[in-house]
Symmetry: C2
């Protein structure tokens, strides 16, 4: 997606260790108009999918997910990173974060994810794919079906996209970073 790629090249910042910082327009300060354009692009790319629910993970996934849900008039469920005291009947899974060097648990209530659900997962980043595989686990635990996964930015060199596509999952990424070597952002055409 042209507008996103141009923005990444203009405002994205690269740090050693394969870190791409897009804090100025995606995951700390958010460009709401760009967010809407990206949501429109997801709607286009998943036009042939039969979806009745959007799922995401707090916190950075919520903005793109609610924009897609708004366009499609579908409910949006966000998996929570901790089990909260007022939540019952939770489906949980453990995800290892390479970025943060630790495991965390994400949970979704079985009240809001069940066998009748055909879900589209939306998130900001696809890197090694651990968060996405965690969501797939939750979807499977719930007996729901996963219709697709949409990411704003995929870091192709971290191989998460390969893992997901090998499983036959319909993956769409609006910008694909092929390399951050030498702190230069190289995007796929």
């Amino acid at each position: 997606m042209k507008a996103l790629k141009e923005r990444i090249l203009r405002d994205g910042k690269c740090f050693p260790g394969g870190v791409l910082k897009v804090d100025s327009f995606i995951n700390h300060q958010m460009d709401a108009s760009l967010m809407r354009s990206m949501a429109v692009e997801f709607v286009r790319r998943f036009a042939s999918a039969r979806i009745n629910k959007i799922i995401t993970v707090e916190a950075s996934g919520i903005a793109p997910a609610i924009m897609v849900g708004n366009l499609l008039e579908l409910p949006v469920v966000f998996a929570k990173k901790k089990k909260t005291s007022t939540m019952e009947n939770m489906l949980c899974t453990t995800i290892h974060s390479f970025t943060k060097g630790k495991d965390y648990t994400v949970c979704v209530s079985s009240e809001y994810l069940g066998p009748e659900d055909k879900v589209l997962f939306i998130d900001d980043f696809l890197a090694n794919g651990n968060a996405a595989l965690g969501i797939l686990d939750l979807v499977q635990q719930a007996g729901a079906s996963l219709e697709g996964m949409g990411f704003l930015i995929e870091k192709a060199f971290q191989k998460g996209g390969d893992k997901l596509r090998e499983q036959g999952i319909h993956v769409e990424s609006l910008a694909i970073v092929d390399s951050l070597d030498d702190c230069t952002i190289r995007l796929r055409d």
Copy 2:
């Protein structure tokens, strides 16, 4: 706001200790269409305010905030609940959560909140007002000005609204809960 009040009475659940659970349409599963209607209502109520940025706190504030940002074509900054390794120049404040019985730190980068900013704070709940006062502290640290605070639901019996209004802050709540006594939801007309 009529649609929200009707929805709270229909789908909200009351728990002992003044807990109102709106997990089915606001802060776990989100009704994206209702979220948009609520954002439109915020735009209407803050029509006379001069705003150049929306601010919120992760995670439940992000959805209403991005919807407002989208309508007003303004950037949306969400304060983060932990200092992350890739963030520099952080402004931080400590907030006490009565619900969770502990303190937490929220931070915003000074890159995205500064003296030129006239901000509208959007969040899902206003209870004792500690989160809102924490944001006010961040806004003041940044030298920015606070133009208003909008909440989806205000629990009036927890007095946060009083504290904010006493300081002269323009507070708008789309639904005001006067009491949850005897686990009955009583909304203000």
